[in-house]
Amino acid sequence: MYGIEAINAANGWNMAALGILVVFSSLIILSIIISQLHKILILWEKRKKLIPGGMTTDQPYYKNGNRESGNENNAVTPGNVSDECVPHPRFCPEDILEVAAIWAPLAEKLGEPFSLGDLYKLAAKNNFPHPHLTIQRLRQENILVPSENGTFFFNYEKEKT
């Protein structure tokens, strides 16, 4: 048996339609759940703030990324900085010049010129918030200036203005 007759005999149309429907519906469900995953995680991370008696944002943020009490020497606040940690606020300021002022010590630490990869790694190591996006902003504002061989300079003049 060949052609349309063979497709009809094997219930081909129904099976193909069912297959496409199942593939699409399962991937749509998956895509919806994955798109909400980070929101659920943000809620989970903020659970202590939402519960009465939980911690507040005034408490210091620790190098290992959590805000539980522990080794107080690990606190990263402007007044309490260890040798290897660069001080920074918990949240990234909106003003790009403020951001530049916070990031300048990282560039000083690396020495110029530096690669963006090294800057990213150092920022991530110091728990700077959103290092990838911030580097992108600093590049757009010409605070990170490219040199000829793919490395970058930090435009300190712009930071001071």
């Binding site: 094997a10 099976m15 496409i20 399962s26 895509s31 995953l37 980070h38 996006l133």
Partner: protein, 374 residues
């Protein structure tokens, strides 16, 4: 003199047949493609060498055990395919090698992975129309997913007699992605669409990356248990990679285990390509249908990309839809190359990786559907 004549009668020269000779030439040609042209060499070299080995006259490698004598080496290694062991283990390695971040940060690209699977079901109908049985048609259609292990897994379960032709077709088209996809992509898109620069992807957190394989397996496992052998191993491999406490297992899955299974799989797939099974009209039909499946999958992915481009007000470059056929990461690289021809500063690779890994999940689900329904 009798002994000498007996020896002569036992040589390959005295027993060679035209069909075996043709298969040996095909094997040498594939070997050339793998080594000189670097078309999927990790797979094509063992496949073509396995093909060469079994097509020697009187080759004992695939011999079945009889009269108290043990069988050939490849006969025993072939149990890994027959029992459906190698493809899930390959998926374990793929999972450990794959970074799902582009998909997690832009999950709507899963739809592109879903759209590219339409080619599978379209070709399923085409194969039925050509007189193949539903199980054979399903095994042929899955070539459109451009996912070698999935094609091998499904055909080993549903149409083991077509395994050689299907696996050679699947891997050949995966190797030929850079030649097959670009004309289709250019035909279906305008220059204005091809130069679209997409917004940067957000960063994903470690927790998200750990939860991803667990969530995927919970949903797909409940939805379609028949897809679990492939998806379960894929997600386990990815969990090894992301959880941060199983580095040794992740490295073993990525390197030693993966490499060993690739050798076994390649050799035994090649060993199935003896002249008796391969040089038939059915094989030519399968190769043509595989090309149709792959082309339709690419086209439907791009068309879905165009729909998403319109729906988002031009924020999605439709070219990335072509990466919805699995072929990781070759088809994502093709999107990057085609995109850069019209806009040299456009970097589509990471955006295309989303639909690319979505396609792996989609084709495993499609295989699960066939296993459940047929």
């Amino acid at each position: 003199m009798d002994k000498f004549l007996h020896f002569i009668s036992q040589t390959g020269f005295a027993n060679i047949e035209l069909s075996s000779f043709v298969m040996m030439v095909i094997a040498l040609f594939l070997l050339y493609l793998g080594i000189a042209k670097k078309y999927e060499p990790l797979l094509l070299v063992p496949i073509s060498f396995g093909m060469l080995l079994v097509n020697f006259p009187l080759s004992p490698l695939m011999a079945v055990p009889e009269a108290g004598q043990p069988g050939g080496l490849l006969h025993y290694l072939y149990f890994g395919i027959e029992l459906g062991i190698y493809p899930p283990l390959i998926f374990l390695g793929i999972g450990a090698l794959t970074d799902f971040s582009p998909l997690i940060s832009n999950p709507k690209t899963l739809l592109l992975g879903a759209a590219a699977q339409v080619g599978i079901f379209g070709t399923f109908l085409g194969a039925l129309a050509l007189g193949f049985s539903p199980m054979e048609a399903a095994s042929i259609g899955i070539i459109g997913g451009a996912d070698g292990p999935t094609a091998i897994y499904l055909s080993s379960q549903m149409a083991p007699h077509l395994l050689g032709a299907i696996s050679v077709a699947a891997y050949s088209y995966m190797a030929l992605v850079p030649m097959i996809q670009p004309p289709i992509m250019r035909l279906l898109t305008t220059k204005k669409e091809r130069i679209i620069v997409m917004e940067e992807l957000r960063e994903t957190t470690k927790r998200e990356r750990i939860l991803f394989p667990i969530v995927v397996i919970l949903i797909t496992g409940l939805f379609l248990p028949t897809a679990l052998p492939l998806l379960g191993m894929l997600m386990l491999g990815n969990l090894f990679r992301e959880c941060g406490v199983t580095d040794r297992l992740s490295k073993a899955a990525q390197n030693e285990l993966n490499n060993i299974i690739v050798i076994f799989l390649g050799l035994t797939v090649g060993a199935k390509c003896s002249a008796y099974y391969f040089l038939t009209i059915e094989t030519i039909q399968i190769i043509v249908l595989g090309l149709v499946a792959f082309s339709v999958g690419t086209a439907t992915g791009v068309i879905m990309g165009k729909i998403m481009c319109k729906a988002t007000g031009g924020k999605v470059n439709p070219l990335i839809g072509a990466a919805g056929v699995s072929a990781v990461p070759m088809s994502a690289r093709v999107c990057q190359t085609v995109g850069q021809k019209d806009n040299a500063s456009n970097f589509l690779l990471m955006f295309a990786m989303g639909p690319n890994v979505g396609g792996v999940i989609g084709s495993a689900i499609a295989a699960g559907i066939f296993l459940a329904v047929l």
